[in-house]
Symmetry: C2
Subunit: 361 residues, 2 copies
Amino acid sequence: MPATQTVAVRVDVNALRDFSIRAFEAVGVPRPDAEITADSMVQASLRGEGDHGMRLVAIWADKIRAGGTDPRTPLETVRDHGGTALLDAHNGIGAVAASRAMAMAIEKARTLGIGWVGVRNSNSCGSARFYAMMALPHRMIGLCLTNGVPLVVPPGGLRARTGTNPISVAAPAKEELPFVLDMATAAIAFERLRVYASRGETIPPGWAIDRQGNPVQDPRKVNEGGFLQGGALLPAGGYKGFGLSVMVNILTGVLMGGAYMEGLSEFSPYDTPERDSFLLGAVSIDHFIPYEQFVERMDDLIRRIKDCERAPGVSQIYLPGEQGFHRERERRMSGMPLDGPTADALRQLARELGIPSVPGL
Amino acid sequence: MPATQTVAVRVDVNALRDFSIRAFEAVGVPRPDAEITADSMVQASLRGEGDHGMRLVAIWADKIRAGGTDPRTPLETVRDHGGTALLDAHNGIGAVAASRAMAMAIEKARTLGIGWVGVRNSNSCGSARFYAMMALPHRMIGLCLTNGVPLVVPPGGLRARTGTNPISVAAPAKEELPFVLDMATAAIAFERLRVYASRGETIPPGWAIDRQGNPVQDPRKVNEGGFLQGGALLPAGGYKGFGLSVMVNILTGVLMGGAYMEGLSEFSPYDTPERDSFLLGAVSIDHFIPYEQFVERMDDLIRRIKDCERAPGVSQIYLPGEQGFHRERERRMSGMPLDGPTADALRQLARELGIPSVPGL
């Protein structure tokens, strides 16, 4: 559930994409990798996930220039056997490593029905959804799990021990929109807490606790005294979200021989590698039932859910990911809304890199 | 989180297992299948999940005698290619179909690193955990998803549209206990609601709503006027649990060409096939990193979580599945506790089938 921010300006989506590609190229990212990286951020912003969207363009360019990310993403294939593989990103760009791994998983699934490819020693890949959705045009179901720094307390605990570790699964439909689940296993994504903090808004109980275990109302308190020194996030649905978060840790950092828990680093400082791990999975639908039959069944499932009798005041039942598609369509037509800080950061980046800014920005 | 019930009697675990095997054989289940079926129920009761435990022995014997389940479990391999396969259980016993499918997934993972095997047209398999845990002795991570009748409302909806659809994942450790996640994607498993109802206890808000969308306090109201006619369950963690539940539907019934949503039947009446679908997955750890290294990393992960500073009054932080192992150890030594109705049902079953009852029962 993305938070909306004040819109400072709207610009053409393709112009924004071209600018982002040029910016990444200017800091040493090869053209195909610059395209993937830009696409992952443009898609996030189009779908209303500003946290993983255009605001990251300047941040990534800074991070690469600070030496915290290798712009060439020197991916190494550590293991590759049958339906599985393990890649080492050697501190490259997360979007590049994750999308190459997903392409490998799709190739494996094409012949074997399923492919699972892990990545270690990467920087963050943004929205897990972007990589899960890569499976859709290949008549496949896509899966992406990623780990991250400890932000979430175990039930009964007072300190962060596991990450917001998202789970994304994408499955195609026929006439209906694809099913695209993309959820943090914490009660709330950490970046959303920052949005609430920046607006001076309070948060409901069940999202975060202070270091004594009391519910936090003022989100700024979580970072009082330094990153996460004032508290931590609660898992989604109590021990269930906690269990899923630990599961993601196991299937990513632990299984891939990568970092986990305190071995991971936050996004900043920019000269520090994050050491994230990912799991990318693809499942070929035709290996189970004919694709046409599957997507018709998906339409039926989706329609039955949307036809559900609604509570008073509820205008529509939404499937996971559905609102993101509507938002994307609108933004491709009316332009991408950018908030003030993001617009400023992009203008400054253009000046620093000596490249033309986005028209209308 | 199992509910504790009043203990009427404690009996020897092995005697209970032998009795269950004999009872299943008496209603036409072949010996190896009777063993698997008994084991799945004994393990559930040992770990404190009475809902999927010994109370099911008499119910399954009744269901087989009523013609609602084929005791021979005539499993058909519909597709088998590379890392995936699809089985049709043709209305056989769920525990038999799921464990055979898991054995296939393990064989596939042994050579390919991963195996995903689906089952359709089955009756319920009880605890998903039992099948996920089958992977552990094979140096693998196990996965089991199963679908079930609609019991859970979508966010904003007033009628049940998706099931409690559990997710189970098991991963081995070295000196620590294995990680065993087994969670309903609903706020509460339906059988637990029945336990609250039978005791006349109230339930907290966030578990169930009535047909107008109001929180239900008295769990008996959910079934007022017939099965689920008085309300429905809420998903765990709101739209997140809902999304996971629909994901399970997609990866089981929809993908396997089996039943989903209203196409599924409840456990009773006993002469009706349930038509559940399952997904069984196995991941070979050695295909990613050496097994020894993995289990040492698991020990480290588990210890760091358990060492977390605790809230006042919390004596220990538990990992998913941990308490089940402690309970199992205690019950193997002190005997299996049975509640009054379960003890009565087993005694009556012995009389009806003309087999010796459990000593001490």
